[in-house]
Every structure is written in C-alpha cells, then in structure tokens.
C-alpha cells in the first residue's frame, strides 16, 4: 500500500493515516511476556510471567512489578529497559506533584502524566516510541483503579485486561471469568488461572510475579512464599 515507504520516520503519517512506528511498537509489546490486571470490588491485582533467559539468572534480582508511589504499582509487557526509564520518570512526577500539592497523586493524574511522556516520544525528532504497554494499578479516594497505557500515549481504564504474547486467549478467559463483585483474593486466583492458560512449562512462584493493592491503600509485591500459597489453593 506504500505504508512501508513511510515506516522510517516516526513523525510522518502514512497514507492510510497511521504512524507506522507506533504500530511496530505495539508489535514489540505483543511479543513480550504476558501480563494482566484485574480490578476487584475491594482492590486491584496485577501479574506477569517472569521467564528468564537462562536458569543461571538470579531470579530474585529481577523485579518486573514496580512501585510508583506507596499506593500505585505498575507492570509491563515489552522492552524491560524502556519500562525502567518510564518508571523513573513517573516516580519523579508523582513526587513533584506531592511536593507541590502536599497530597498523594491521584491514579488518573499519574496515568495521564505518564501517557503524556509516552506521547511526547511519538512527536519529537530523533527519538522512538517506548516499546512497552503499562498496566497501572492503584487505590486512592476514588477506589480501586486499573489503567492500561499504550506506546502511542493513549490510556484506558479497565475492569480486567491482558497484554503481551497470549493476549487474545487471556482476554477471552477473563471475559468469561470476570464478575463485578469479585473480591481481591478471588481476583488473585483468577489472575493465576489466566496466566496458567497460555503458560509454557510448569507454573511456580519462581516464574510469575504478582502485585496487589487492597483497601489499606498499600501496594505490595507478593513474596514467593505467598505465591506458593495461592498456587496451592488454585490446584
């Protein structure tokens, strides 16, 4: 269609009205490890596969789920290094907001500012879009919230969502299993089952990561021991 002739420059629209670099960024996300999030009635859970390139890698040193503030956590699918940069920027923005207004940043505000950063990288010279999609889980005055942010800078609020390799199976599974009045523990079980769906090999506490936030408004990454407990309950 002539699209390929426009794929070199980020800031040029193709004749079909697309920015081809962003499409490619979404492909990078789509080939990343599966991650998902579920919003329960009293909290949010996010989870991801943690497949390491070799058994020699020290899996305790790898942490894919990160804190942005005490009550907001984030997970990604796509390129790890891009995620690190975004996390750093988001943490700084949250801290600046806190200093200016002396209140913890609302989840929507932080998501919007992060999305703005990602959009800037789609409209500047000499840079490329981030090759990650983020799932932001938070609990503030408006209750539990789950947002997905894409490389283009668009963001959506979800009741449950998945990203990465196994996205279509995972989303179908979630559509069947999701209920409005789910509690946080049920949501964690559902998250594990969803990850199990497309999992290659044996699922264990060493190759998945789960983060949750409840009504106490404190985001926590579960320890491997806690994940083992939940896995046992699911069996």
């Amino acid at each position: 269609m002539g699209d390929s002739q426009y794929s070199f420059s980020l800031t040029t629209f193709s004749p079909s009205g697309k920015l081809v670099q962003i499409e490619h960024a979404l492909t990078a996300v789509g080939s990343g490890q599966t991650s998902l999030g579920i919003k329960a009635s009293n909290g949010v859970v996010i989870a991801t596969e943690k497949k390491l390139p070799s058994i020699l890698v020290d899996e305790a040193s790898v942490q894919k789920i990160q804190h942005l503030t005490p009550n907001i956590g984030v997970v990604y699918s796509g390129m790890g290094p891009d995620f690190r940069v975004l996390v750093r920027k988001s943490r700084k923005q949250a801290e600046q907001y806190n200093r200016l207004y002396k209140e913890p940043i609302p989840v929507t505000q932080l998501v919007r500012e992060t999305a703005t950063v990602m959009q800037e990288f789609t409209q500047s010279g000499g840079v490329r879009p981030f090759g990650v999609s983020l799932l932001v889980a938070g609990y503030d005055d408006k209750g539990p919230q789950l947002y997905q942010v894409d490389p283009s800078g668009s963001y959506f609020s979800w009741k449950a969502s998945a990203m990465g390799k196994n996205v279509s199976n995972a989303k179908t599974f979630l559509e069947k299993r999701y209920t409005e009045d789910m509690e946080l523990d049920d949501a964690i079980h559902t998250a594990i089952l969803t990850l199990k769906e497309g999992f290659e090999g044996e699922i264990s506490s060493k190759n998945i990561e789960i983060g949750k936030i409840g009504a106490d408004k404190v985001f926590r990454v579960l320890t491997p021991a806690e994940i083992d407990d939940y896995l046992a309950e699911v069996e």
Partner: protein, 269 residues
Amino acid sequence: MSEVPPKGGFSFDLCKRNDMLIQKGLKAPSFLKTGTTIVGLIFKDGVILGADTRATEGPIVADKNCEKIHYMAPNIYCCGAGTAADTEAVTDMVSSQLRLHRYQTGRDSRVITALTLLKKHLFSYQGHVSAALVLGGVDITGPHLHTIYPHGSTDTLPFATMGSGSLAAMSVFEAKYKEGLTRDEGIKLVAEAICSGIFNDLGSGSNVDICVITKGNKEYLRNYMEPNPRTYVSSKGYSFTKKTEVLRTKITPLMERVEITEVGEAMEE
C-alpha cells in the same frame, strides 16, 4: 526582545541591590526567625532530638507552638533553627529527594545522604539560605548526629546544640552528658537542656518537643513537656452582675427603599 529564563542557580542581583539600599539607610524588613534552642544526642540505642516551640518575629512571638523537628525519612529527623521559611523549605525539598532515592535504590535512606544533600544545597546558596540544622537518625551503619551551618559546613558529634539558646543548652550537656545513656536518661537530659534554653534565652520558649529514633523505630513526642501553660484565662469564667438598661430605641435605615417600574420594552439581545 524575548525574555530568556535564567538557566538555574541563584541570581545574586537582588542581594547587591539590598546591600546598596541598606547602605543608603533603608531598614531591612525583619523575617520570621525561630530564635530557638535545638539539641541532639546519641544514646545507647540511637539518637534523641529535642527542640523548643517558639517562633519569633523580632520582639514578637509569632507562633507559641510551632514544630521545629522536621521529618526527613522514616528513620531520619532534622531540627531547624534560623529563618523558619528556609528550614521548612530545605528540609521539605531534601525529604522529597530522599524519598525518590529510596524508590530507585530499594533501600532505607542513610543519614550521610541527607547530610550531603543538605550541605550541597546550603553551600551553593552561600549562606543566604539561613538554615542551621541538627540532623539525626539511625541507618544500617548505626546512629548518627550532625550539625549543619547556613554556609554549608557540617560537624559530626555525639551531642550538639544550635540556635540562640545553644549556649544555655550546651552548658547542660557539657556538665551531664556521658556515653551509653539509657532512653529515659537521654530524654531527661534533652528535656533539661531545652528547658535551660527556654528559661534563659528570650528567643526560645513555650514547650519541649522530643523525637527518639532507634533501629527500626521512631517516637515523635510532640509537646513532651509544657513548662509554660497559659494561666491567664479564668477557669471560673466571667459573670457580669448588672445588665445594661435599654433607655430608648431608634432605627434609621441606611438605604432608601427604591421602587422600580418597568416602562417600555426590554432591550434586544
């Protein structure tokens, strides 16, 4: 001609102007200083910080119960003497930087980190940020106590005092401090030192605030002692025996009542 915003750093232009005005005889406006007695000491299990609670604006007491012990990190607190706005702003800023740093490293903040961030900031402002601080905390390397002067120099000490009441407080420490104090002995000594400042220095007064920091725990004892209670309010209340008699009543309305009658058509929109 477009205005280029300054690239950063302090612009000393106004300081030159101020010096010139003072030489010409202008009286500089007085700012809210904290007068102050602030102290810190290291005891067996950690650090104890103490402060008075009077904020002065020249000869007037501006705040009878202000908070001079500022939060820096869960394991680090900082007492501030000097200009109240400066101590608040600088401790707030460094506390924010420390929090960001904790997220990046995943570790608890160290006292020496807070010390370095503060002294670098104060030095770059060449003493114009009038904040004299007593910084104390317990981190992975143990308990630490430092003093920081407005120009950016620092000391590391087992016991320290700052502020206009520092000599009064230091005399108490020099007489009674010893290594390996217990928690209660330490709190008693700090309270004594602050009281010495409260009673002997005009710039310090009101109550005693204390903060005890140990490994993994902190206690902020706000208004630990109140040696200056307000006694002028009568506890009995006031009763007036004779009611005022009403002799005559006359009401004068301040505005004339105006009647509006609509004539003609309303204006077209």
